[in-house]
């Protein structure tokens, strides 16, 4: 388990123990955290699981695969700390990760 903190747009904070091996997206979906749609189910084909990663975590995350940046072009208000949460696989290294969920996904 790793603790992942989701800050939702309604200024609420949800800290969840997410099982290792799941993605940050799945952690949100399974725990009914609002704001992550994940329409394509984790296939890096829709950009509706877009999150903003807390700056200090940016360098600690696995690098973006080809295609993630392309999909982020489509995301709602992408920024430099944007990631697709379906591409972030939870591990010990990500224990304590904090992400902000945008006001909407599209």
């Amino acid at each position: 388990m790793a603790k992942i903190t989701y800050h939702t747009h309604d200024n609420k904070t949800h800290t969840i123990d997410v099982q290792k091996g799941l993605t940050v997206m799945e952690g949100a979906i399974q725990n009914d955290i609002p704001g992550i749609d994940a329409d394509c189910g984790g296939g890096m084909a829709c950009a509706t699981c877009h999150v903003y990663v807390k700056e200090e975590w940016l360098d600690k995350l696995p690098a973006k695969e080809d295609g993630e940046e392309d999909m982020l072009d489509m995301a709602f208000e992408p920024k430099n700390n944007s990631r697709l949460s379906c591409q972030l696989i939870v591990s010990d290294e990500l224990d304590g990760l904090e992400v902000n969920i945008p006001s909407k996904q599209g």
Partner: protein, 338 residues
């Protein structure tokens, strides 16, 4: 008024195979889809990407899968209504009266929703004022390119649509292309061409910029764009085009009295009927305990939903289970000559 047994909403693989299953048991159907071609997510999101989990098909692309399904339903002459969205449904005695966004009307015994994650709509700018100009000087698709002649156009996006239009319109218009990063997802040849045009001064490229605001009276006059580092530029613009791909929206389905949970429609697993009699839901849009969003699951759901439609389409007849290998009736419907 189009009278048919079943209306299928959605021409993705699940909807197409459901049409096949309806045809095999002797029911007619027509299909409505909001996109301009059949195939759904397979065609819109990953036409060239391989799929490895279709039973008995070790590998195929989204496009191949779609073409094979279209070939498989060819004997049934299914009528497609593309570029249309189902807007309204109304119960009319034992049948349903359906109306699409293009005003086409249907009289059907049952409805099968195979709508994936909803209908594809263009993604829009997040800047609020854009709504005011949408359809007059701000567009997400181009229907008539002649209006852009000799005008100044600001195009946003980094994919093929943005690049292709920027290159094409630069022949007859003054084009600004604005994109949020240096990299582009469009084809490499287009990126090269774009850079050449920029070097020759035939087009202005702004990277690491995003829209900040638009202004104008009736029509757009100026666009402000903001650099990653905060600098803001104001550029004169007659038109603004945004190409950010598509997003899926459930749309009017929300208003049909169906039990909806997290953008999916609840169904039973006996025949994939919803809480409303005569309305079925299959594929990614349906939910039930154990649901998997796989194409193969959609095929199974479509086969059962087709049989569920039978009692509404032919209430006085009994449906017998038959194999296509041995059923004369099924083979006749498939147009097989022996």
């Amino acid at each position: 008024m189009n009278k048919t047994d079943v209306l299928i909403i959605g021409a993705g693989p699940t909807g197409l195979f459901c049409a096949h299953q309806l045809g095999i048991i002797g029911l007619t159907c027509e299909i409505v889809d909001n996109l301009d071609k059949a195939g759904g997510q397979c065609i819109e999101l990953y036409p060239d990407k391989p799929i490895y989990d279709i039973p008995a098909v070790p590998e195929c692309t989204g496009e191949e899968l779609t073409n094979n399904l279209l070939k498989q339903i060819k004997p049934f002459n299914v009528k497609f209504h593309l570029n249309e969205r189902v807007e309204e449904i109304k119960k009319n005695q034992n049948r349903w009266h359906v109306k699409t966004s293009a005003g086409v009307e249907f009289d059907v015994a049952a409805i099968v929703i195979a709508g994936g994650v909803g209908s594809f709509e263009p993604r829009k700018f997040s800047v609020k004022e854009c709504e005011k100009f949408e359809g007059n000087s701000l567009f997400y698709s181009i229907k008539d390119k002649s209006i852009f002649k000799d005008k100044t156009i600001s195009i946003f996006g980094g994919g093929d649509s943005a690049l292709d239009w920027a290159i094409e319109l630069s022949n007859t218009s003054k084009v600004n292309l604005i994109h949020r990063r240096d990299g582009f997802s469009g084809a490499e040849a287009s990126v090269q061409k774009l850079k050449e045009l920029n070097d020759q001064g035939k087009l202005n490229l702004f990277t690491k910029y995003q829209m900040d605001s638009v202004s104008g009276d009736k029509q757009i006059e100026y666009v402000k764009i903001k650099h990653d580092e905060g600098e803001i530029k104001e550029i004169k613009s007659d038109y603004v085009l945004g190409f950010f791909g598509l997003i899926m929206q459930l749309g009017p389905i929300l208003d049909w009295g169906l039990n909806i949970d997290k953008k999916t429609v609840q169904v039973n697993t006996e025949n994939f009927e919803t809480n409303v009699n005569g309305i079925f839901a299959i594929g990614d849009i349906c939910s039930y305990p154990g649901k998997l969003k796989l194409i193969l699951s959609g095929f199974h759901e479509g086969a059962l939903a087709a049989r569920g439609c039978f009692k509404y389409a032919k209430p006085d007849e009994k449906l017998r289970f038959e194999f296509t290998t041995t059923s004369k009736a099924a083979q006749e419907r498939l147009g097989i000559k022996k």
